[in-house]
Symmetry: C2
């Protein structure tokens, strides 16, 4: 095989791999849509396929089985949500600005992506039972923890303070707050978003008290 042929083969192979990966992501997107509406327990492969433009058989062409599909969904989901707050962290010049920006994005995410968030909590609960999901879920959890830590540590930095609470603890606290607000929001409580912002303010004030 000449170098040129190699290059061509590479290009072809690359193109195929890309198309393959693209369709996988496309199907994962449809699956996420279905999962976020029905929840893990009631989501079937046929239902997922109906939410896409393909038939149910194609899922086994792109995924080895249901676990493989859902795992890919989880990873796909992660890629979308982890960088959500990076802009706020990068641009904020004062602690007040950062806190306000954090709260704003948090509330917006609660409102606009509520069904996606409930799916996350659903899958995280599943991972307590199904060991096959555990590693991926733990990885997402970790990157969410990192995301929270980037915000909080930057906040402390801007405020000229140091933090005594560990990253994992900090994440657990915010996660608890968010989860409660999500439940309130999904049950029709319109005050959920505002009280989430209040609670975040309050917790930040406790963790990084005024000098």
């Amino acid at each position: 095989m000449t170098p040129v042929a190699e290059k061509n083969a590479d290009r072809v192979s690359r193109r195929q791999v890309d198309k393959f990966a693209e369709r996988r992501d496309q199907l994962a997107e449809a699956a996420l849509q279905t999962l976020s509406e029905l929840g893990y327990a009631r989501t079937s492969l046929r239902e997922i396929a109906q939410n896409s433009e393909f038939s149910h058989g194609v899922l086994h062409y792109y995924f080895s089985d249901k676990v493989d599909l859902i795992t890919h969904c989880v990873r796909h989901y992660k890629a979308r949500c982890v960088t959500r707050y990076d802009g706020v962290v990068a641009t904020a010049q004062t602690p007040e600005e950062l806190k306000a920006g954090f709260g704003r994005v948090l509330v917006a995410s609660l409102r606009d992506e509520a069904t996606m968030h409930r799916l996350w909590y659903d899958l995280r609960s599943q991972s307590l039972f199904e060991e096959s999901f555990r590693a991926d879920v733990a990885a997402i959890d970790k990157s969410l923890e990192n995301m929270i830590w980037r915000i909080v540590s930057r906040y402390a930095e801007l405020a000229g303070r140091t933090i005594t609470v560990a990253p994992a603890t900090m994440y657990a606290v915010f996660d608890g707050l968010f989860q409660q607000s999500l439940a309130k929001y999904l049950s029709g409580d319109d005050t959920a978003a505002d009280s989430l912002a209040d609670n975040v303010d309050q917790v930040l004030a406790l963790v990084i008290p005024a000098r």
Copy 2:
């Protein structure tokens, strides 16, 4: 019908009702056992019946359908777990004693009832999708919130301090901490229980700071 006959009829009826309720609880217990092992998504009525000493048909004699059964399970579960910390609250004479007792029971519960806790989080996630569970789950959530509040407010009282954090917020924070520790514990992390106690200490110190 004579008064005596009425009394007898009452007694009979009462006895029947009691037996009926007893068997319902017994089956709910078997169901909780199964649910806590398999999770909501993979628990079937036949599996539940196999974990009891009855056949699968009997479930429809005591419960109208699956939702009815699971709802009863949730209520049955609630009755067991809400009073778990009342003894500690009642007997503690100093804030240190209360905090230590709280931590002790918390850690013990994490260890001994881990599968039951994961079921709780599973069902709570389900309630975000299935509206039929929502009311009962919310009621349990509220009584857990009350339980936490009894502990924390008593702690503040013993310490001679006041709390600025709302009960719901307080519960959300502790719930987040507990949930994280549960995940760690179930994934084989032996430090989960200890670090939970540490985190609870730390949060209590933040919420009710030394004078």
